[in-house]
């Protein structure tokens, strides 16, 4: 822990960064929340434990942060680093403007109630981060055991026929209230003007009725295909508990199967949708 605070304080002291984004505890609870430290003494508050659920890389895309801080340090788990790499792949941030303090992670809880391990952690391949400037250990980190619930549900849906699948998703999406928490918390949703906010023409209805909800969730899943890194934040923040990660993880599986591509692993690979291959599969095209 002291290691982290030392590193962070030094970065701020030497001016290598103007701010560091990290996790601080919420008093009186086991929760943590994001915090942007701009002065060296503020780094005393930082913690790294198994409740650091947030994906802080979303702040790297926020105007207020970009405007005020030229160089930013970020404390990130492996999954968050995947988001950072995905953002660099898409030219949203420059590698030179960020300092990554990577965490050797043993997994985080699915929610602040500490009931079970997050589904994304079960088969994680970046518990030891793949890109970082500094590396620190998670305090009291014991690898949590658990099952990936989402994969099971995805497999189940794959056995359903078209009508059943439609019914399942129509039912889930009907609860949507169009709060756009999923969009706001997602690092890859950085569009200045989201398609749902465009009124002329109205592509996706902003109303929270079945048709508008279906369109929104389908289009968001499509706009994330090939880009989503599977951090699971969208599902964690949804106030109506809609299983958004089913869609996003299914698309991650599809991009792996069809293109052998995983978003957020390598800085130098071109993005999936932004490029093409002459040998892409076209068996389904008549």
């Amino acid at each position: 822990m002291n290691n982290l605070r030392q590193i962070a304080a030094e970065l701020l002291n030497t001016g290598k960064v103007n701010a560091i984004v990290g996790y601080v505890p919420v008093d009186g609870t086991s929760r943590t929340k994001p915090f942007i430290a701009t002065k060296p003494e503020e780094v005393e508050k930082f913690v790294i434990n198994q409740n650091i659920l947030n994906n802080l890389s979303v702040y790297l895309t926020k105007d207020e942060v970009k405007k005020n801080f030229k160089k930013i340090g970020i404390i990130a788990k492996g999954c968050d680093i995947k988001s950072i790499i995905a953002l660099i792949q898409e030219n949203q941030i420059q590698r030179d403007n960020i300092v990554i303090i990577g965490i050797k992670c043993s997994g985080v809880y699915a929610d602040f109630e500490e009931t079970r391990i997050a589904d994304k952690c079960v088969n994680c391949e970046v518990m030891e981060p793949h890109l970082f400037d500094y590396l620190v250990e998670m305090e009291n980190g014991s690898v949590l055991a658990g099952e990936d619930q989402k994969i099971k549900i995805i497999r189940q849906i794959e056995t359903m026929n078209a009508e059943e699948r439609w019914d399942f998703f129509e039912n889930e999406f009907s609860r949507c209230i169009k709060c756009y928490a999923c969009r706001q918390v997602c690092p890859m949703c950085y569009c200045e003007r989201c398609i749902v906010d465009k009124a002329i023409p109205r592509w996706i209805e902003s109303s929270a009725h079945k048709r508008g909800n279906f369109a929104w969730n389908l289009v968001r899943a499509f706009h994330l295909s090939g880009r989503c890194v599977g951090c699971g934040e969208c599902e964690r923040v949804c106030p109506m508990d809609i299983p958004l990660s089913l869609l996003n993880r299914k698309m991650i599986m599809v991009t792996q199967e069809e293109f052998n591509y995983k978003s957020g692993m390598d800085l130098n690979t071109p993005t999936l949708i932004g490029s093409y291959d002459l040998k892409d599969n076209e068996e389904f095209i008549e």
Partner: protein, 349 residues
């Protein structure tokens, strides 16, 4: 129309067993009324013959019953075009009687608070028809966590404000307080399900509630906000906010809305009234491109000011019931109680 806390006038307390409550709900559903109870996502409709229990020691539902009186998406007019003629059709607002069973005091008060703005310069028929046909059966609350603050905004876990009838869990069933005129009418109609109440049992239950600690004085907060629009504190408050509308949409009393037109096809369509939130970036975006609230700090300042100053100034009601849903659900754990308590301490120094 609406209920008011009428403690001095309430008749002796009544009593109803869980089984009788179940039967009463079945009869209500037979009479074509809808009964809603707190469940996983919010208040959901009970099905005929369905068994239920209301556990008042659970935390508030993730979202409130606001959707039942102020729907998340509601058509306010339909249009049909026929060559150059346009026919406007007014929908009839849904006046089906709804009974909300098991509303904690922080939820029960919401309709009476919102009804002030919906009957201010314009009487919103859509809201009024629904609210007038909704009976609120409140329940004593046995839950408290670090996000609750009903006592700071003038409520409490045993407050009957906003309820028409109020349940207090006792052995085998519930003590029942009749709070409002409407509650009394309801009771008279279905009095065969109720028996006389035991005042001592009820007082015992009430004494056992855990009240959240009072952390601020609304008057002080209101005064400070009025005098400190440009205070630098606001630049620290909204920095981490992501600008989603989770807080506004799960809130029992946030009521901003957006009007949009949608079409079915070239000749038919409708005008919708949808939930909106001041936390969205485009909420104050003008057609010229200018946005007076162009960063999250300004937007968050608006939220706090509206709830704790502007609304109380206009309507003498705080636009907050202290339920804590916004803070519990916030993706980045922004705690409204902490912010308002901070303001309170500034006000006092």
């Amino acid at each position: 129309m609406k209920s008011s806390s009428n403690k001095s006038n309430s008749m002796e307390e009544k009593y109803i067993t869980q089984a009788k409550l179940q039967e009463l709900c079945n009869e209500l559903m037979e009479n074509n009324f809808d009964v809603f109870i707190p469940r996983q996502y919010g208040y959901q409709k009970l099905n005929k013959g369905e068994d239920f229990t209301i556990d008042n020691s659970l935390k508030p539902t993730k979202s409130s019953f606001k959707d039942l009186v102020f729907p998340k998406a509601e058509p306010i007019l339909y249009y049909k075009k026929n060559k150059s003629e346009v026919e406007i059709i007014d929908p009839k607002p849904n006046g089906r009687t709804k009974i909300i069973l098991g509303a904690k005091p922080c939820d029960a008060k919401s309709i009476s608070i919102m009804s002030k703005v919906f009957n201010w310069d314009y009487k919103d028929e859509f809201f009024n028809v629904r609210a007038n046909n909704t009976l609120i059966v409140g329940i004593l609350c046995n839950f408290v966590d670090e996000f609750c603050f009903c006592t700071s905004v003038g409520l409490s876990p045993k407050s009957t404000e906003g309820s028409d009838l109020f349940l207090i869990p006792v052995d085998g069933g519930y003590g029942v307080k009749i709070v409002s005129e409407r509650g009394n009418e309801f009771y008279q109609k279905y009095s065969n399900y109720f028996t006389a109440g035991d005042e001592k049992q009820i007082k015992d239950s009430e004494a056992k509630v855990k009240e959240p600690e009072v952390t601020f004085e609304p008057e002080q907060v209101r005064r400070w906000i009025g005098e400190n629009f440009e205070n630098n504190y606001w630049n620290t408050v909204g920095t981490l906010c992501l600008g989603c509308a989770q807080c506004a949409f799960v809130c029992p009393v946030c009521h901003c809305f957006d009007i949009v037109d949608e079409d079915y096809c070239y000749t038919e369509g409708r005008r919708m009234k949808n939930w909106d939130a001041c936390q969205f970036e485009i909420f104050t975006l003008h057609a010229s491109g200018h946005n007076p609230r162009n960063d999250q700090n300004k937007r968050y300042r608006q939220r706090i000011s509206h709830k704790f100053k502007y609304y109380p100034d206009k309507f003498n009601e705080i636009l907050c019931t202290g339920c804590g849903r916004c803070s519990r659900g916030c993706p980045v754990s922004i705690d409204i109680k902490k912010i308002v308590s901070d303001i309170n301490s500034f006000a006092q120094s």
